[in-house]
Symmetry: C2
Subunit: 350 residues, 2 copies
DNA sequence: TGTTAGCACTCGAGAGCATAGAGTGCTAAC
DNA sequence: GTTAGCACTCTATGCTCTCGAGTGCTAACA
């Protein structure tokens, strides 16, 4: 059986309708609303073919048709167009989320998640810029009380992270400044993952004397990379799932929300997708069993040319893909520009 | 109608049973399981009285009885005993949550919420130590790139907060150190809410020259107090609500989860309760309409003698109050001790 | 006077059944 | 190739019936 143009047209109509109605679509609906030139009987024949091809399914004999995961895949790859364009308000909301002046990266990320979930009515995920993909610009140790210090790690995209460590009481502020200077001199321009205290020239004497200190310093640096990479997934709009009839069942809603609760899995999902600009996984294409009746759409965002993080949306497979992709595209670009801007300003200052 | 001892006993039995079963309790159940010396008929008469007194209600004529909010109030105030003691494992879990060596206050708070929700199976809330209740120990400005600096605010309970600000490019590291020194000298020992740059002696010349800078510095300090106070409510175990039959209905679960999503309301609720060691509001005692079929139990925790934050549990009015209170009591103390310990160590250092 | 056995009564949950309506597949005619 | 017509299927809905848990009341009992 070959795939005629008309079959594709019918398939698209079924999906478009099902996306908004969530109710199995019958041949008469298609005939009336989408293709009045053909009778329901004609559509019916075609739909039977589409079912045989594995693109449509029937929940039961006398019900309409529902698109299969494969159908959504086809839809996403070939069928869907630019329908559901963003309105001026949408665009404004996106711009505003990232453009409000702030140096708090976390805050920008949170607003991003909030706006994406609001505009799409699905659950939004944002993977914060990943440190391991950034280069170090500066390490600064700041004495707090005697015996403790703050480690501030500055990267090329934004100030990233700080952490408190114990330091030998023998070190005074000047010592810390000197250590900071050397570490910075040695590592500025390197990826964070490369940092290794043994590489610091002229540090070996101090190293020997203050073994414990440097050890904990390294632990902090490593933790910073690891923790940040594992922890910085921001989510918003999880309750949106209740808007969709497929999750009116408390059991399913619970399973979904519980899945979202395991940040590390979310992280792995998002982090594994930063290679391509967009990534869409539909239903059973998802490796996670709890996600096999959902779709996940992600877009990476870039600082300069480097992809540093990603934004994603989770919703039912019956998702408004065109709109979601448009939101993610614009949001990703805006976010990247914002981070790049911070970078740029800093460069100008120097 | 007067309240006999036996009526109280029956009421307690009804509540104890309903707390675990979630099913209206009949007279026969009470007679068999709790008071075999009396027949179901006797219990029945007493229950009818209790209903007339507004302590029990019937969902419909031929069903058992359910405790009213007033009954829970009575139970909490007079009836409940020390049943459901914490096990050794419970105690260990609580201790471990706060004792693991860390200087990251946020991390301790998160673990606290996690353990409380795990041990109680309800939703846990933790209000982080409130800055406005702390005294300042040190303000430190750290130059990052030229034109930006990190403001670190150290309080007497823990390092609290840092934030990035723009600074005049004319200021070098020494200037920042000097400003930090003066601010610290002037404000150490004061409550954070008192901080006002105009009060700094000898600062007026610089103030005039660097108006914008000081303005933004003050903004940061104020924001730090406000933001921290408004934002630092950590929640865990929200999905636990699905464990309870009264929330099997997706609509109710949604309403509950949506309510938890508005952090500022949670904040106000928790912050308004730091005067008394414990606070229990049951059902309609709650001002928030969305919470009127829930109970909220909170306990404050103290650093030294000052209450600085609180821990809370939200669940159905049919809540295991004794256990929840025991968990909160121990957790509150442990948390207070942990923060006090940080304080103590710092003092030793000086 | 307090307690209890007995009994009629009430109400909701759940099973069983009939009906309406949406949608299908197939056939025959255009 | 398209379509009208029709028998068929299946679900959702509403109705009735029954079962069982629990009640309130009365009368007997200690």
């Amino acid at each position: 059986m070959d795939m005629s143009q008309r079959k594709l047209e019918i398939l698209k109509a079924v999906i478009d309708d099902y996306i908004v109605s969530a109710v199995p679509v019958g041949s008469r609906t298609i005939s009336r609303k989408y293709m009045p030139n053909f009778s329901s009987a004609t559509i019916r024949n075609e739909m039977a073919d589409l079912e045989e091809m594995g693109l449509l399914t029937q929940p039961h004999t006398s019900a309409g048709r529902i698109p299969s995961d494969r159908a959504y895949r086809l839809y996403v790859d070939q069928l869907m167009g630019g329908e559901a364009m963003l309105t001026k308000e949408d665009v404004a909301a996106i711009r505003q989320a990232v453009n409000r002046r702030t140096d708090e990266m976390e805050e920008v990320i949170r607003r991003t998640a909030s706006v994406v979930s609001e505009l799409t009515h699905y659950t939004a995920l944002v993977l914060a810029p990943q440190l391991r993909r950034m280069t170090l610009r500066r390490i600064q140790l700041v004495g707090l009380t005697r015996g403790t210090a703050l480690v501030v790690i500055v990267t090329d995209a934004a100030v990233a992270k700080d952490s408190i460590i114990r330091v030998p009481e023998s070190l005074d502020d000047d010592d810390l400044a000197e250590i900071s200077r050397r570490l910075t001199q040695r590592f500025a321009g390197h990826a964070l993952t490369d940092v290794d205290v043994n590489m610091v020239p002229g540090m070996s004497d101090e190293l020997r004397r203050n073994r414990d200190f440097f050890h904990s310093l390294m632990t902090v640096l490593e933790d910073t990379v690891v923790q940040n990479d594992g922890g910085e997934v921001v989510m918003d709009g999880a309750v949106n799932i209740f808007n969709y009839p497929e999750y009116q069942d408390a059991e399913r809603a619970k399973a979904f929300l519980q899945f979202l609760h395991t940040r590390d899995r979310l992280y792995r999902m998002l982090a594994g997708r930063t290679k391509r600009e967009y990534s869409i996984t539909i239903g059973e294409e998802n490796a996670e069993p709890d996600l096999q009746d959902c779709s996940l759409v992600t877009a990476t965002y870039r600082v300069g040319n480097r992809p540093v993080g990603s934004i994603g949306v989770i919703g039912p497979t019956r998702m408004n893909y065109p709109r979601v992709m448009q939101v993610l595209r614009l949001m990703g670009r805006s976010l990247g520009e914002t981070f790049a801007q911070v970078l740029h300003e800093d460069r100008e200052d120097q």
